[in-house]
């Protein structure tokens, strides 16, 4: 593929967005980045990846950090910025990839070959998926879903220009509960191929 394409995938917790992004990357033969991007940041900063994971895709805590003008010492903000910088460098190098989360649709908004996707899902479907994946009962799964989505939303809306989950923020929003994971991947693949023709 000569043309650089970067597919950003935002997702609701439990929607299968991560799996959809992974399969899409595999089928399009693109690099795939998610939490694994922290490994690169950990290597560059000489810090344990477990330490970084504690602050990944989370909003800044109310206490424990401060901002002075453009300077912040919030670990959540610092780690987000380090990942954004890593993303920008990858984009500048001409690499094509699929990236999950990390406000990528906003960070890379000026990249010509950018396709932004948001995956949502029906509540029941999402809860079921979370129950299966984490071995939780319904209430626990619902609680986990709400907690994660709240944090993702706060994190996204703090760093990005558009609102998290708002259809106007993305090129395409899909409810994965309608077609299931595999068919959603197929649909997105068709969409991406059509979009590439327009670049």
């Amino acid at each position: 593929m000569d043309q650089q394409i970067i597919i950003t995938v935002g997702r609701e917790f439990g929607s299968g967005g991560h799996e959809i992004a992974r399969q899409l990357a595999e089928q399009l033969n693109l690099h795939f980045y998610d939490r694994s991007m922290l490994d690169e940041v950990a290597k560059a900063t000489n810090v344990e990846v477990e330490f970084l994971e504690k602050y990944d895709e989370k909003p800044r805590k109310l206490f424990g950090s401060r901002r002075v003008g453009a300077f912040s010492n919030s670990m959540e903000e610092i780690i987000a910025e380090l990942q954004f910088e890593n993303l920008r460098q990858k984009a500048e190098s001409g690499e094509s990839f699929v990236i999950v989360g990390r406000c990528a649709e906003s960070v890379l908004k000026d990249v010509k070959g950018l396709i932004s996707v948001f995956i949502l899902g029906d509540l029941q479907e999402k809860v079921k998926r979370i129950q299966e994946r984490y071995q939780l009962d319904e209430q626990e799964a619902l609680f986990k879903l709400k907690r994660h989505d709240k944090k993702r939303k706060q994190y996204h809306n703090f760093h990005a220009e558009g609102k998290w989950g708002d259809s106007r923020t993305y090129d395409i929003c899909i409810n994965s509960s309608r077609l299931g994971i595999e068919k959603t991947v197929e649909l997105l693949k068709c969409y991406v191929e059509e979009r590439i023709r327009t670049f």
Partner: protein, 450 residues
Amino acid sequence: MAQILAVSIFVVMFLLVVTEKIERYIVTLVCGLLTLLLVFGAAMQNMDAIIETLNVKSIFTLGFWYTAGSAEESASGINWATIIFIMGMMIMVEGMARAGFFRWLCMKLARLVHYRPVFLFLTFMVMSALLAMFIDSITVILFLAAVTVELAKLLKFDPVPMIISEIFCANLGGSATMCGDPPNIIIGTSLGYSFSDFILNTGVLAGISLILVIGYFYLIYGKQLKRVTVSEEDIAKMPDPKEAIRSRKDFIISSTIFGGAVIMLVTHAQTGLTVAYIGAVIAVITLLTAGKDAWKLIKKVDYKTILFFIGLFVVVGGLEQTGVLEKIAGLIGSISGGNLIVMAAIIIWISAVASAFVDNIPFAATMIPIIKSLAAAQGADLATLAWTLSMGTDIGGSATPIGASANVVGTSVAAKNGYLIGWGRYCKAAAPATVLVVAVSMVIIFIRYC
């Protein structure tokens, strides 16, 4: 009713400032407006309190700009002298930064010590303290931390020990003078103390503490830095200090203005020039000599901080006018039983602990009327309480990564370059140093003044 309203507004303001949900200047301005409308207007129905708190009249008095003999004591409310001085310093410092003064100074000193990490470490600590005596610690750390990271990358050593030490010394240097740290400017202008009053009191405390702190940081970090070897090849790669100077003419002008500002500040008790006058003069000279860049310098002023101060002074004015702070002073007075040693111990430790976690500017602004009231009611020496408050607020801020602005800037600059400094690593080094300096300062205050 007025007291309840004033305290409620203050508490809400403090919480909102700490949580940073809303920009802090908006918080203090809105809370200041609420103080004027609800506390002074609706509850007290006292127009005089509003006029006294806005304090605009004071600017048009001779004493605001020039005092024959001793320094002028400011009335309560908005401390315009602090605001004008800080604005003047912001403009001058921006002029110096544009000319490349700070980067040149750092690089020049690094070259003088042949880039040997241990010497860099010691020299940068002293330079940080000396510069912070006259320039705001944010600017000092912004440049020092950036150069430290640059040198660390070239010489392949961990810059974090140096950055933590520099931050600590910048806060310590700031405590030495009237213009070094915002709490000191507010204390000095509110209570009528001069630059020399500070240097002879907090300056001595800071000087002794600096020697101890250099020893302390050398003890914990010296070994690590000694292991770093610097080859001739590394030195050859270093940037020439001259490259930092963007314009020779601007460099000479800004250095001269800085020198003039230092002389005016050091001698202001003798010349009668107030800090408001000095701030205004250095701003005007910087702008006049900047030519077409003057507008750029004006635009660079941190207006948000200026507005933050204005709102803050009004809210604290509300507490003062309603007598809330007198009650707190009465409480401290009764706990201490009028004993100056106990009062000093309470003030220095409460100030230090509070400043370690919350912005020390609102804290100092609130404490000033309290110590004034303590001195009036209990007969305690006001100057002793002022130096105690200054050391507590200035030094306490060093203990945690969020205690002072310099800490935030230093740790943020390090993080942007890939050197993360968490609470654990920061506090492990800085908290014991803070306890050491606060304890030593307290003992010296006991011996010298009580």
